[in-house]
Structure formats: C-alpha cells, structure tokens
Symmetry: C2
Subunit: 398 residues, 2 copies
Amino acid sequence: MTTDFTATRALFDLPEGVIYLDGNSLGPLPRAAAARIARTVTEEWGQMLITGWNKAGWMEQPARTGDRIAKLIGAESGHVVMGDTLSIKVYQALASALEMNPDRRVILSDTGNFPSDLYMAEGLCRTLGGDYRLKTVAPEEVMAALDDSVAVMMITEVDYRTGRRHDMPALTARAHQVGALAIWDLAHSAGAFPVGVAAGGADFAVGCTYKYLNSGPGGPAFIYVAPRHAEIARPALSGWLGHEAPFAFDPSYRPGRGIERMRVGTPPILQLAALDAALDIWDAVDLDDLRATSLALTDRFIAGVEATCPDLTLATPRAHAQRGSQVSFRHPEGYAIMQALIARGVIGDFRAPDILRFGFTPLYIGIAEVDGAVAILSQVMAERLWDQPEYRTRARVT
Amino acid sequence: MTTDFTATRALFDLPEGVIYLDGNSLGPLPRAAAARIARTVTEEWGQMLITGWNKAGWMEQPARTGDRIAKLIGAESGHVVMGDTLSIKVYQALASALEMNPDRRVILSDTGNFPSDLYMAEGLCRTLGGDYRLKTVAPEEVMAALDDSVAVMMITEVDYRTGRRHDMPALTARAHQVGALAIWDLAHSAGAFPVGVAAGGADFAVGCTYKYLNSGPGGPAFIYVAPRHAEIARPALSGWLGHEAPFAFDPSYRPGRGIERMRVGTPPILQLAALDAALDIWDAVDLDDLRATSLALTDRFIAGVEATCPDLTLATPRAHAQRGSQVSFRHPEGYAIMQALIARGVIGDFRAPDILRFGFTPLYIGIAEVDGAVAILSQVMAERLWDQPEYRTRARVT
C-alpha cells in the first residue's frame, strides 16, 4: 500500500496560519474525534448510562484498542492493553520485571531517558528498599554497562531532547545475554516509525498516545508484555479490573489472563473515544511510507537550517538509523528563539537547557511546512528577532 | 441556602421512561457537560494545541478542580488534587502512610471494603516484602482490631454492598490513639452526604468522581493529604508532574510542594472537562439539604419495599447515622430480579452474591421516582416476573 499523506492531512483540524511542529508533544485534533467524543458522551454515557459498560463495549475497550496499538508497534495481537498514564505503566513494567529477576538489584537506564521514567524507578527502588538502585549512564554507554548486575534495562527508544534513536534489537539482545530484562518506552516511537517490539525481543514496552498517535491531552497509555511473560508477570498495581473475575468481588487478588492483569482501575472512556477516532486514520497508513517521508522531511529541515542558521548546532544524529521523527538544535538562547518562532506561527518547543525541538509528522506536515519553518527560523536568527524582552519571560510550560 | 432539587433535576440528561437508581455506580450526564467537553476538544485542543497547557490552564487544572472537590469533602483548600484512578490513589496513600509509620507492618481494613482497595494493599505488601500484611476483619470489628500493631487503617466510609456507613471521627480517633494512620476511601461518600475529612481527622482520603459527582465513565480520582503531612508524605508513584519543577527535567526526583507531589503523569483533560461541568451543579447544592433529602428518600424506599416485598431482606442499616445514600436488599435471586427491573426501566445494580443495590441521588431523583420504583419492584416480586430464563443469563457487568 502507498499512503496518500495529502489525504491524511485533511483529516486533521489545524488552525489557520500555523506550522505545527509539536506533534511529538501533543498531536492535533483529528476532525472525526470531535463527533466521536460527542457520540460517546450523549449517546453512550447519556442514554445508556451504567449499561454502557456492556452495551457500548466500554469494559473491553482497553484490550480492543490495545490491539490497534499492537499493529503500530509490531506486537502480537492480544498482548497490549490501554490505561493510566505512561509513568504508571513504567512502574508496572519495572516492578514486574524486577520480581522476575529476583537475584539482581540494578535498574539500568541512560541520562537521556525522560525524567519521569527515572523518577518512577527511583520511587520504586525506595519502596522496595534494600539495595535496589537505579544506575544511569550516558546513552552511548548503555551497551557497555550491561553486565550481570543488571536486573532490568529500561530505555526510551528515542531521546526526547535530541531525537537520537537507540538500537532496540542490539541492546535487547545484549541485555538478554547478560540475563537482564528489557523495558522499552515508546513515547517518541509509536506513530513515529515502524516499531518492532516482538522482533526486537522486548520483554515489556510502554508508551503514550497523545504525541504521534493524536489521542488528545491526557490520552491513555499502553503496556505490552511479551507473550512468554504474559502469564508470569505480576502487576504490582493489582487493581480490580486486572483481576481474573472483577465482578466476583473476591476478597483476594488473582491476576487476570495475560495482558488483562495489567489493567488497574476504571478506564477513561472519553479519552479512549478520542484515541479510537485517531486510530482510524492510522488504519490507512503504511508505516514504511511514513518512515521514508519522515526521514525526507527531517533531512530537508536539517539541510535548510544548516544552510541558513550557522549559530544553531544540530543535536540530532545525521545517520537515519539513529534518528526518530524530530530534529533538535542547540542554542544558548533557545527559549527566546522558540518564543519568537511561536509568535510567528511556527510551533515547536523548548527543552531545558538549550534545545529547540521540532517534530515532523507526515500525517499532516509536508515539504511546504518544512520550507516555511526554515524560512521563518532563518529570518528570526538573521535579524535577531528573538532578542526581545517578551520572549525571555518563561511560562511554566512551553 | 436551600437547594431546589426540582431545578437541579433539569440539569441532567436522563433517558425517557427510566428511573435511574444507579448514580452510585455511574452518575448521569449533566446537560452542560456535552458542550463543555466539545469546547475543550475543538477550541482548546483543536485551536490551542500544545499551548493549551498554559492558555487553557490545563496544567493547573488538577489542583484547581481539586479545590472544588475539597469543598464537598470538608477538606482544607489546597490539599486535594485530581488524577489517575481511585485504585492508584489508594496505592499512593497506602505507600506514603506505611513509610510514615516505619516500625509497623499491618494494614487494617474490613471485609466490606471494595475489593480493589484490598487488592492494591495486597500488591503493595508483596512489593514491600518482609512481613508487611493486610489484615481484614468484619466491619463491626474494626474498632476492636485497632491495636499497636496497626500501621495504617484503610477504610471505605460507605460499604459498596450494604450502604453501611462507618463512623469516621470515632475510628480515626481510635486509630490515632494506637499510633496508626487513617486512610478513608470516599467512593460512596463524596456527593452522597457532607463529608468531613478535616473535622474527622483523616490523614489521607481518596475517592472517585464518576459516581455521585457525575463526571462520566472513567472520570479522574482525587487524593487528599492532611496539611500536617503534606510536606512529609512521599509519593511512591513519583511521576514528573509531582516533581518540584517538572519542566526543569532534573535527573533526580524532588517532591513538589504539598499535594502537588501526589500528581503523577499527564492529566486526562477531556475527563476533567466533564468533571468541571458536573461540579458547576454542585456549587448550588447545600450538602445538609442533600443529606436530609437523601435520608427521606431512602427511608421512603425502605418503608415502601418492606410493606410490599416480604421476600426481600434489608441489608442497609436503619439508623440514619450508619447509612450512606443507597439502599440494598438481599435475595437469592437478586441477579434475575435486577434484570427484570432493568427491563422495566428501573435501573439499579446487582452485587454478588445476593445484593440488589439502589442509589438515591437527590440531584435528579425525587419522591415520584422512589414510588415508581417501589411499585415496579413490588409487581416484579408479587408476580415473580423475574423468573424468566432471559433474566438469569449473566452479562459480565451489571
């Protein structure tokens, strides 16, 4: 199949006059989502009330939608389930993996991992007590740091700051060789390129849906447990909807079948409706086409900026195999530069201390947007348009 | 102030021909919620995109909405925050409380607690290892079971099956006397009657919003930490939005100020929009009026059913002080009876093994609905209308 990205672009509601290069932070609104959410609200919640859990299929939706995610991350059907936030899913995966490797005490991660993953690991280690600890090394040192002290390797495939992509199959193979389990965070991978959790040998994978998958602010996370662990992994967060028979109201917990046990509490039905509408778009996307287009866009952006903005330093790897679907440049005045860009309709974001971050999402970004962004950025840089007091006042979130 | 419940009823979208006595499971749709959600979807997500986190105030919404909940549960302003599901909030409260009482190993709860609370406690004990354990006693034995082995008492104020209400101030005082901390689950309290977590001395309180508060399927939970613990409690689930400076992207976790540290991941903005619309209704409700009306309704239902249905056994306490806002009856054929009722437009629910459960929510239920439900129930019982094969086939959720 060949994807017509001109057609997919029309499926999104994007404001006039904006070049949106922040879909790696919050994806835009799929046009069909508004109607889908409204239907869930008025026809399901409003008319079915409590019976919606059966009649509208709310109860099974986390697994049904999980199967749609599975296709995008190269997972086996029936082994992905939706719920909670990514941080919670990181905790579940970590706690399960540590228990499956009971003689070891080290969680290995890298300093490029998203802080929340590291914080959740810190919190878990403190709760577990004893000599459990989180060890972080530089991203390029993960392979060498894998030794027989490591219980679990927890890595985010694509670095949120630089867009550098780790080699999932190679790191996972090495982790297994030394007797460690591998958890992959796909926050900047799912919907960014073809992911292969099964082929890559991941033991657990987690991710969010509000970035490249366009499920809206606060959309639910997902978790994958490899089939070989599905009936072994114990969810530390053992909630009733992960119970073998939630409506038996047993006094004691018995884990549900396979991935179902990773459910915790009542699923967020309105957010799931938005996600489901967003995933309809993905049904028509060939992920290899997506990847080829994404690389062409990021190559073009890098070339354009480097040709016109000598003060910006590329932070993203040039090698395709090491690149996600974003491009980052460094500049000491990165914050003010990004504010100047946003004021001119180019929306990317800033990540402390000095990263200008631009996401390229072929579903709704094409060559015209890349060239437009390059032109505005080069003007902002050449004319020092960022050097204004109003661009230096930091808001809490950028 | 005096609440006009005839006026509040018009604020809900209830299907024709239905007497909805299951608002203690899933509250109905507030008419204003559909428009509010649509505005959040199209004007905020659609038009503001990533800037919605600042411009639409999404980032602060969990605390802002938490303050609205605080008013309904008698909590101090600035000490309630929204997020996740109730089970996750139970885990956070438990883990924090156990760490604050490090020389003890027992979580005390009762067999009438909602199973998910017990499951989360079991999971936490297993993760903590050592001799941490969950001890459950009969509801009436909690007071006597409070001794100096108990680290934390974890009680759901109103029993989900019987509607029996515990005495929060008395149990909490006794817990403190023996050196235990008290966690209160308000799932069937918040919006059911005036709750007093501060006056009652609760150390932690948690609850959900999709029952009496009408936030819709999968609406976010809340957590309260008493001000005296706010800067001490450590969130075991230490996510980035609970960090002191989430956007500094520090490699190490530092808990945020007070209740903010109990945030974990990205908040569910669409569900929060629904909740916010639902809370607008609560602004005009006097909780003492609500309680008086609720008791009048449950008294009337009990009297009506007992006068006409001799085969049903009341499971709910007659004493007002021990009653929540629901009435439950037992019958061995409870499941089939409830199906027969639902087929006739009276929606309550069934809880295994033999409980028929009816929630009374003055915001949209009045005397006419009570009398209508009594009439249909008495006909179902007198004519054995439940004794049909189609009413005995169990669906997964009731």
